[in-house]
Symmetry: C2
Subunit: 881 residues, 2 copies
């Protein structure tokens, strides 16, 4: 069995394809060596050895000999001897799994030094300070990771030495001072450690290797693997590499470089560099590094070589590279290359640039950008350079960032917003009553509720920054203030909300709004060429519709009509309708609403000229339109000129134990057909109105909460009758579809029947998830996080479709619906429509479109492209090329 893979200019066993066996780092070291990139020679002990060791606590047979052999080979290549008193061979030992993973042992440098070889190093380098500093570093790292001694004691010895020498930094210490530090370290180790510090380099080496293996098991690494779903049995490789030194004078140095700018994607070498320093000095941040451009002045030859190498590596890997390098007395060495992390904005630019440079295909460019990250390109964010301490932290529910004045009620929000200052609405939780206030606010904060609460859903719909469930924040409407962490902010004072991090910050913190550039639009264009799924938007007003169209929405998949009912003059008419004693009273109130509804639809139809618009009939239970608090009832009674008791009776009569499962959706239209009729009339009249102006209008009328074919038949009959009536009145007609939301298990189970008369299905996966799982979004906060944490549901099922349960019902509905009506148009309009894994699932089910909030449209477009490309195997094929 081969346990050790050697890499050097003359002989390299591995290559980049072997990252499972050699780890990412080891595979790339081998690959770089093969490419002729200057890499200090070394060898990699495979992950197989680690796996064997994890179980048996022993090395597999033959490992000793192979390591021994590799060390001999390094001795031959370097002309140095491992443990040699003259010119000792020193090595670094680094872990490196197939997946990069923080929390594990990272690095031991200068291994091979002992009380004897340090003298040899001092001699051969002619620099005792360098030698003893190297030994000190080695002793400290070794004690930390192999002997597992407390770090602080070493630091205090070093601090004491600095004090005695009267210097500020370690690298100002001279030979003697360092010698005495080493002595102090050695004594400390002898005192604290069970095992003495091994003088034998071989023993040092095995200690280090085993420490790497042990670190695979440490709690931080375990937690990380659990969080990211990395299998616990992968194991790590160990890389042993000849030391090179960036701290051997002003012709030496060390640094990191990106082949392109990780912040904005600019195609230019980018990074930091320290003269006369070792890698850990860069990390420590005690000295201000130079920029890579400055390196050109100090070490021009090495810079040119680095630049050329970086270009070569990027071309070879066809990806932006993150490099670590060291210059030892004028000679450049590459210590690592890997795919570079980058901001969303940079990711877009790099993908587009690389495709345009011919480095990758357009399809690859599309696959290079994670859809989920795309939203970051569109929303404002808190200036990353701003300095602040948050007042409180909640759950980020809708991205973006905004500053505004504190308001504590919807009414106040509306009023203060009129005064032109932006306002931020803070509520314990929101209800449809707060809708106008939410519209008026630039951000919304709640102290209760989860990511699927009313506030979160509505805010996402409006593309508005929102933080929910900020439990530590006391929102005291009466006192007119909010309190957290011992601090108080009064009504009218400024705060800033970061919807990406969930932070609430006192005062006005600068925010930046990234403008998606040409590269963004170019990438989205390519994505559109790849995808099969159409992408629509959920929008309830012309402004949102226009925004979404700007983001590439190809229609409206969900236009909720209830939000339209909360406007100042409308809510009165709505309440009048609810409180009416009979059908004719209801009809009178509905007649007032009709022209307003019609004008809503006119605006939306115009904004969506040429594109389909799915309008959902009234969905929520009627009590949502009535106030629930005593004083609000009082106020309303006064306003309507009706006895308070009557209102209270109506509120009591309409009260529901489980409103989610109550008298709503088409059940409302079934018991109050005049509401359906009014809405149908408003839609059809609006469609005829705009058609007259030459607008290509494509209304799709959606009946909500259908559970039984008869319900749909009943509502469709009303709609069709109204349409015939209006067509006759106007002597003109317009095409329209009538379909249904599929949001109950029973609708899925009887989809074959419902697809008989229904012309389209739109999955309302929010409610379908609630009913299939028997889980109220509003109440799940008390236990669902536990479930997600424990991995019962890998992701919150309200964010990502539960494919096993909800998805199975959807698959059934799609297949039986299409069997009954092959032309059935099928989409999804739940929150899941903007979630990339859910989009992929919808693609796999063969749906026609997904619909999501305006700011998620680009995410969905890209996710749809990914789904199509993955289906074609494009992702795998590309990786192989």
């Amino acid at each position: 069995m081969k346990h050790v893979y050697f890499f050097s200019k003359g002989l390299t066993d591995g290559d980049r394809t072997q990252s499972a066996l050699l780890g990412g780092k080891g595979a790339n070291l081998a690959e770089m060596t093969r490419l002729g990139v200057p890499v200090p020679p070394g060898f990699t002990i495979t992950t197989e050895v680690c796996r064997h060791h994890l179980i048996t606590h022993e090395m597999p047979e033959g490992t000793d000999a192979q390591v021994e052999d590799a060390i001999r080979r390094l001795e031959r290549l370097s002309g140095k001897k491992f443990g040699g008193a003259e010119d000792p061979l020193l090595v670094s030992v680094r872990s490196g799994g197939a997946v990069s993973m923080p929390g594990m042992m990272d690095t031991i440098l200068n291994l091979g030094l002992n009380d004897e070889t340090v003298e040899g190093l001092a001699r051969v380098s002619g620099n005792a300070a360098f030698a003893y500093d190297s030994y000190r570093r080695f002793l400290q790292m070794y004690s930390d990771v192999v002997l597992e001694l407390d770090h602080d004691a070493f630091e205090s010895i070093l601090g004491e030495a600095r004090r005695q020498a009267g210097v500020e930094t370690d690298y100002e210490l001279e030979g003697d001072a360092l010698r005495s530090v080493v002595r102090g370290y050695r004594e400390l180790i002898d005192r604290e450690s069970e095992a003495p510090f091994p003088q034998d380099p071989e023993e040092q080496l095995w200690g280090a290797i085993e420490a790497v293996f042990r670190s695979w098991r440490n709690p931080r690494a375990q937690a990380y693997r659990k969080t990211y779903g990395i299998p616990h049995d992968l194991g790590t490789a160990v890389n042993v590499q000849t030391m090179v030194y960036g701290n051997r004078g002003s012709d030496s140095g060390t640094g990191v470089a990106f082949t392109r700018n990780a912040a904005d994607g600019e195609p230019k070498l980018f990074g930091e560099f320290l003269i006369n320093a070792q890698g850990e000095d860069v990390v420590a941040g005690t000295r201000d590094p130079l920029s890579i451009d400055q390196m050109r002045e100090y070490l021009p030859r090495s810079f040119d070589q680095l630049k050329e190498t970086a270009e070569r590596l990027e071309k070879h890997y066809r990806e932006m590279q993150d490099l670590e390098f060291t210059v030892e007395q004028g000679t450049l060495y590459l210590l690592q290359t890997r795919t570079g992390k980058r901001t969303a904005r940079a990711a877009v630019r790099i993908a587009v640039d690389m495709a345009n440079e011919g480095l990758i295909t357009r399809q690859e460019a599309v696959l290079r950008v994670e859809p989920e990250r795309l939203e970051q390109v569109l929303h404002p964010m808190v200036d990353p350079s701003a300095d602040y301490t948050p007042l409180a932290e909640g759950n980020p529910a809708s991205p973006g960032a905004a500053s505004g004045r504190v308001v504590l009620s919807a009414k106040e929000a509306v009023e203060r917003a009129r005064e032109d200052d932006p306002v931020i609405l803070l509520r314990t939780e929101t209800s449809p009553d707060d809708f106008e206030g939410m519209v008026a606010a630039v951000a919304i904060v709640t102290s209760r509720g989860g990511k699927s609460s009313h506030a979160a859903v509505v805010a996402r719909g409006m593309g508005k920054c929102c933080v929910v469930g900020t439990k530590e924040l006391e929102i005291d409407e009466e006192a007119g203030e909010i309190r957290a962490r011992g601090r108080t902010v009064r009504r009218g004072e400024w705060i800033t909300v970061d919807g990406a991090s969930g932070e609430i910050i006192e005062g006005r913190i600068p925010t930046v709004k990234p403008e998606p550039g040409a590269d963004f639009h170019e990438l989205m264009g390519w994505a559109d060429e790849c995808r099969r799924l159409r992408v629509r938007t959920n929008a309830d007003n012309p402004a949102d519709a226009a925004t979404a169209r700007g983001f590439g929405a190809e229609g409206i998949g969900l236009c909720r009509t209830e939000h339209m009912f909360f406007g100042d003059e409308r809510i009165d008419a709505v309440r009048e309708m609810i409180l009416a004693d009979d059908k004719s009273g209801r009809a009178a109130a509905l007649a007032k609403l009709l022209p307003m509804q019609r004008s809503d639809f006119v605006g939306i139809f115009r904004a969506m000229d040429g594109l389909p618009v799915t309008i959902r009939l009234l969905d929520p239970p009627l009590h949502e339109f009535l106030p629930s608090e005593r004083d609000e009832i009082e106020r309303l009674a006064l306003g309507l000129g009706r006895p308070e008791a009557e209102l209270e009776a109506a509120v009591a009569r309409l009260h529901e134990a489980n409103p989610m499962l109550g008298h709503r959706g088409c059940r409302l239209g079934y018991s109050h057909p005049e509401i359906t009729a009014m809405q149908a009339r408003a839609i059809i009249e609006a469609a005829l109105d705009v058609a007259e102006d030459g607008v290509d209008v494509r209304p799709e009328i959606m009946v909500p909460l259908v559970g039984h074919l008869d319900e749909f038949d009943n509502q469709k009959a009303i709609i069709d009758a109204v349409a015939r009536e209006v067509f006759a009145e106007r002597d003109r007609r317009v095409d329209y579809l009538v379909g249904t939301m599929i949001e109950l298990p029973r609708a899925c189970l009887t989809a074959g029947a419902i697809a008989g008369p229904a012309e389209f299905f739109s999955f309302g996966t929010n409610d379908l998830t609630q009913t299939t799982l028997g889980l109220s979004r509003d109440d799940a906060g008390s236990f669902l996080p536990l479930y997600v944490e424990a991995g019962v549901y890998a992701r919150d099922p309200f964010q990502s479709i539960d494919t096993e349960g909800v998805g199975r019902l959807m698959a059934l509905a799609v297949s039986e619906g299409r069997e009954a009506r092959p032309s059935l148009k099928i989409g999804i309009c739940g929150e899941h429509g903007g979630d990339p894994p859910s989009v992929e699932f919808c693609h796999a089910l063969g749906m026609d479109y997904v619909s999501c909030s305006p700011f998620r449209v680009p995410v969905a477009r890209l996710a749809a492209a990914h789904a199509a490309l993955k289906e074609q195997g494009a992702d795998g094929k590309m990786e192989r090329t």
Copy 2:
């Protein structure tokens, strides 16, 4: 085409198998004639003719001639002539569909009389009064059903005649008086009718036939067919039959008879008889009829003949018969025979007797009793002879009847019940808070809620009489009274509740409690031999368990543990647990509950010695154990010695928007594993305790509301760990099963996975219906009745399984569950477990058992037998024999 089927001693075309073509009446007239039973000859016009006429408004070709021919044949048989002036042939015309159906034209008698033939009849009968009375009756019936004139005008002419003659009843009127009545009728008809009264008997006959056909369409008939799901296109037959007269003197008479007593099933001829009367006089009730036994004295020969005929018919039909007969001058005629209606009690006795007499098989006897009606045999009922006017009427939710004193709160119920007088609890609606009050009361009445409301479900569980949704009843707790229909009953006064009719009655009305006799037990024994499904009961305490065992329950399918928590001393501990700040506080409170829980289970295990007992772990959300009203919170705070604000905060914290979909069931056990552990310990310790006393204990521990395999795994691990612990402590062990309630769509969709570790499934069809249909039982009252009325759901889906939706999920769960674990035990413990069609469905799915409330156990046993027999085709085979 044959349109007319003749029946007479000499020639009979039809037989009993042709009821679809000839109607039930016509087929039986033919059958009786074939048997040699004396039936006045006549003929039946087929339902085909009716169907043709309904569409074309014309008779099919050849009908005229065939009717003509049949009339001629009747003339030949009788020697009389249709329209003959000497001795006219008179006939009756009656409708008669395949299914008996009120609301249609019933009968026209004496057709063939006119101004001329009436004189002939007077002459030949030697009785002018008889002739003119016959003509009067004919004119009145004909005017009513054929000419569609107002009934009242005729009655007032007749009344006027009685007044003039100074008599009280019609049959005291003499010839002249009747002659003048006839004249008055004729004038009235000429005045009011568009068409004149036809003197031509042929024309009379066709008018009558068409009236029968028309009456198929009348609104009452249509409504009846809609209600009972009778197809509208069946049509009715018309029976034309030679008249015979029971009003031709003291040697004549008419009556109805049952071959057995319809009230109690006694095997003895039973019925009523009037001397010198026509059939309609029996119905009119103006004269007191004689009993059939008295007929023996008056008309001994006819009585013997009737008795012999009745016995022959019962033997022939192998069913209790309901006969109509007439004796004309000493000659007996049978006018109708049909299966007799009977009380539930009689149904049981008749079925058992007939089987023991060898008339039918035991299987047939089992099929002869409708399971749904069986409950009537067990519950007390309001004395049928009692006379009263109800105070209010609601929905009958749980059968039975009881008198008691009015109480308006649970507390009052408990206190007053201690004083030994029975109490009836009246509430707007009930909540788990009211549980103890419900236990204390003999009946429960609510003004809100439907048959699936809390009150209804709990009352049925306790076999307690309950009326819900009594909207007209104002329950005014503050004023201490109830009001309806302008009347008031004060707290402490007596009322009676009829759970079968839904009536609330002032005062103490006598009730009768039928004792199921030996025949009941004999029938149930036969049913048990037929069925394959086991029947368990839902019982939460030893008393209910014992009752159910008495009714034949073969185990407990659902023992709810939450009801046990509402006891006086327990609720405090429960609340202490809920309000505890941490796990150890909760543990202390749970430790108090443990011995109480254990003793609950000890009692139940003893009552169910040798039978399985399924115990469901705590299911409801915790807020159900806290008060919600301000004053109750105050009281509780005082009692617990905790600040009110703390309690209010807990109530607010635990408040849920949709408790049905909230933090309950195994979600509670997941977040509070110590509750599961306490309950598991109580169960296992109780099992070991009783096992030591030699009880054969078979605990089955049921985890509620599982939606995901991981939830079940989590709870099972806790249960198994506790069991191992207890076994070790006691050094003894006992077998137990761990299974789950299947009550969420997701549980059905992932049943294959859940059946891996789960040893049994029990369908909780109440919640499964709520989630699959997205329908809250508590809130459905505002629209579900509309749906049921419109036939969207043929029956309330909370009473009878919605097989299309919920049933499909169940079928999936059964098949995938059994595939994963062939030995999986499967039952149902929702309310549906006692509903016959649902039991049949469960049988078809191949379940192992159904479980229902104690009083439904016999219903379920019988329904299970029916299901098994129907599956074998036993019902069809028997009908054919």
